[in-house]
């Protein structure tokens, strides 16, 4: 796993160590629909796959280039809209196999990125972020004004089955779309990974970390940013094309700031510092949304709090958290962490869950229909108007978090110990 991090030094192009993760990923993608075979599971996996391409493309900017974009949905959206329009050009579409369509999206996304990038990449940092915000707002606003291309608020829809059959497959079923999406996910991920290994990709890291020094080496920071931006636009467009194939409709929603903000959230949650971070972020986010969304309508509140906690305590995101354990593992000291982890995280998790329980009781007591005092959380049913559950949740929450805090120094020490080679200076 370590070999696919950007922090590792350059390795020879193809070794066993860095092809293995790809083979595993391909194998997993292949068997996933056999495990989760229901139609809706496949629909969700399609959605995840598309978002992964988008998140990886987004991370080409955020993680690898250090450029924060607030309007990145635009490139995916424009690519997607172009693809739906192609679907509706019956003469052209009849002669075109569907799996080729995302390339159209990619090219359109890239063209749009060239146009915008020509002026937005001149500066990094806040200027870039603000221009991306402005452009994002403008395009989103245009989507309801320019009806010819964006179709107003009801969007533009097409029918993927009108394309030329691809080896007899007409893409009538979700599962066929799944394999198409997976294929493109793998190809784009591989291409994006290889891009990060090219001189341009390497220079993007250098420009991110220290633009001045990169300039001294004779590289134009501006052009390096521009190339990353255009490449990112291309893969966003591919994601847009896949979206068009899967949903057969594109709307204003594909362009607006909420979508752009969402992808930032997922990428950061997964960790922008590692190549596979965004993938993790997408999976986590979608699962959180579905599992929590099933249980409570306050899911957005919890996700927001979790996101904030991630930024504050684990700025490397989930992937950063995982990669932190590589050193202890190499030193063979991972086992020294188990007990302190248990001591901190078990009470912390119990405390947090209790706090959530308290919030749920509060919410239920205020919003449920009259005469429906009964509520069920954590497999227990009780009346939300009784005083006892309130007290229990508060006490457990406070107690759990207090206990976790008590054990924190011990964990800190263990962590330090686990990261120090034996005999090393302390």
């Amino acid at each position: 796993m370590t070999d696919i991090t950007q922090k590792s030094t350059a390795t020879p192009a193809m070794t066993m160590g860095n092809t293995l993760p790809w083979i595993l990923a391909a194998a997993f993608l292949f068997i996933a629909p056999i495990i989760f075979s229901s139609n809706s599971a496949i629909t969700i996996m399609n959605q995840m796959g598309i978002t992964m391409v988008f998140a990886l493309a987004y991370n080409m900017l955020l993680g690898q280039g250090g450029m924060l974009s607030f309007g990145h949905a635009v490139y995916m959206g424009v690519g997607g809209f172009a693809c739906v329009h192609v679907m509706n050009m019956t003469d052209l579409f009849e002669k075109m196999p569907l799996p080729v369509l995302p390339i159209v999206g990619g090219l359109v996304g890239m063209l749009f990125a060239i146009a915008i990038g020509s002026f937005s990449t001149r500066k990094a940092g806040t200027v870039f972020a603000m221009i991306s915000l402005g452009v994002g707002e403008l395009v989103a606003a245009c989507s309801v004004i320019i009806v010819v291309f964006f179709g107003g608020e009801e969007g533009v829809s097409g029918d993927r089955t009108y394309g030329m059959p691809f080896f007899g497959i007409e893409f009538l079923r979700q599962i066929e779309v799944y394999y198409l999406t997976s294929f493109w996910l793998l190809v784009s991920a591989l291409l994006m990974f290889l891009f990060s290994r090219t001189p341009v990709g390497r220079m993007a890291n250098a420009v991110r970390d220290n633009p001045e020094r990169a300039e001294f080496l004779g590289y134009s920071a501006r052009w390096v940013r521009f190339y990353s931006f255009v490449a990112s636009g291309f893969f966003c467009g591919i994601a847009g094309g896949l979206f068009a194939i899967n949903f057969e409709i594109l709307t204003e929603e594909n362009l607006n700031l909420a979508t752009s903000g969402g992808i930032l959230l997922m990428t950061f949650l997964g960790g922008a510092g590692f190549f596979f971070g965004p993938v993790l972020g997408v999976v986590t986010f979608v699962l959180l949304q579905t599992v929590l969304g099933l249980q409570t309508e306050l899911w957005a509140l919890y996700v927001g709090a979790l996101f904030l906690a991630t930024v504050m305590f684990f700025p490397g995101g989930l992937s950063g958290l995982i990669m932190m354990h590589v050193t202890p593992m190499r030193l063979g000291k991972l086992n020294r962490l188990y007990v302190p982890y248990l001591k901190v995280f078990v009470p912390a998790i119990i405390g947090t869950l209790s706090l959530c329980g308290f919030i749920e009781i509060l919410f239920h007591a205020r919003h449920a229909a009259l005469g429906e005092d009964e509520m069920t959380i954590f497999w227990t049913t009780f009346s939300s108007h009784a005083i006892l559950p309130w007290i229990i949740t508060i006490v457990v929450a406070v107690g759990g978090i207090w206990l976790a805090k008590q054990s924190a120094p011990e964990l800190n020490e263990a962590w330090h110990d686990a990261n120090t080679p034996d005999g090393g200076a302390r």
Binding site: K123, V127, M130, L138, A141, L264, F268, M312
Partner: protein, 318 residues
């Protein structure tokens, strides 16, 4: 002609309200170099706090108590949140405030629900100050104008004439030197963040009754505040004032007068196609200024950033 005067007043009210928000934001930015995405959320909190207080103690107590409360909350966020994230760099800071904005919106919905709150002007100001050509100017709007002007003058005075202001200005440019001189720079930072968010709170208290107190009020105003300070030049109080008024008047006049693209295009020498709904350009021809009034500031910002990245009054790059 009368309508021009009415629109000037309306634009002034919008602009000054925007100024109260952007003043705090630009102060925070020039001090810490971080764009606070949650700034408009503090504005929303101001309105909700004031509403809650006004139920029990009336509007005026709300105006008095809510802003310090918001400021206190802001200072807390700086002390326990932002300061921690600061060490990771600017991008995580920005993302932190972004997440904070989301969270505050959710919390507000949790506490007050999703519908608009019946937060009203005080009865003493519920009369028409004067009317021009049948258009009434409510006394409350006059009150808004005076409050924001007073705040601007007070802010300018504090920043340029008092010792605290001097320290703040010095800490802006040479934080280490100021620290070496024995001043507690982190405390100054926390103070500025608190005051900045309190200003947003004042804006919320005042704007709540006019612009509706509902959970979406932060989002509606959120990004436009950035636009204002970017156009005005980051860190410049005067820039924030000028840009706010500019945006206030620009949007008001664009809404008030139906400038049609059709007229402009024919004026330039194009001829309108006969069958308009078949034309590629149908949407361009039917465009009117009220349709695009509220996105004009974004266009202005992109243009400014491309041609003059330090804004109208800024001294350094964004």
């Amino acid at each position: 002609m009368d309508l021009v005067l009415v629109n000037l007043i309306d634009g002034l009210v919008t602009g000054l309200l925007l100024f109260m928000l952007s003043a705090g934001l630009t102060l925070i930015f020039s001090m810490m170099g971080v764009l606070n995405f949650a700034h408009a959320s503090f504005y929303m909190l101001g309105a909700y706090f004031a509403y809650q207080i006004s139920i029990y103690l009336g509007f005026w107590m709300g105006l008095l108590i809510a802003p310090p409360l918001v400021g206190l909350l802001g200072a807390g966020v700086e002390r326990y949140g932002l300061r921690r994230v600061h060490q990771y760099g600017h991008v995580p800071e920005l993302i932190f405030t972004f997440g904070l904005a989301l969270l505050i919106e959710e919390v507000v919905q949790f506490i007050w629900g999703r519908n608009a709150m019946p937060y009203m002007e005080p009865e003493i100001l519920q009369f028409t100050a004067f009317s021009i050509a049948g258009n009434s100017i409510p006394a409350y709007k006059i009150f808004m104008i005076f409050t924001s002007v007073a705040i601007f003058i007070a802010l300018l005075f504090v920043l340029t004439r008092t010792r605290v202001g001097m320290i703040i200005q010095a800490a802006l440019s040479y934080p280490r030197t100021v620290e070496a001189l024995g001043h507690n720079v982190p405390l100054v930072f926390m103070g500025v963040f608190g005051v900045g968010t309190a200003l947003a709170g004042v804006a919320g208290v005042i704007a709540g009754p006019v612009l509706t107190t509902f959970p979406g009020m932060a989002v509606v105003l959120g990004s436009i505040v950035f636009v204002t300070i970017v156009i005005g030049g980051l860190g410049s109080l005067w820039g924030a004032l000028v840009a706010s008024l500019l945006i206030g008047w620009l949007t008001t006049f664009a809404k008030a007068y139906n400038i049609r693209m059709e007229d402009i295009l024919t004026g330039v020498g194009f001829t309108k196609p006969e069958v308009i709904w078949d034309s590629m350009w149908q949407d361009l021809w039917s465009l009117t200024s009220p349709q695009i009034a509220d996105i004009l500031p974004y266009l202005l910002m992109v243009l400014i950033l491309v041609f003059r990245p330090y804004g109208l009054f800024g001294k350094r790059d964004v």
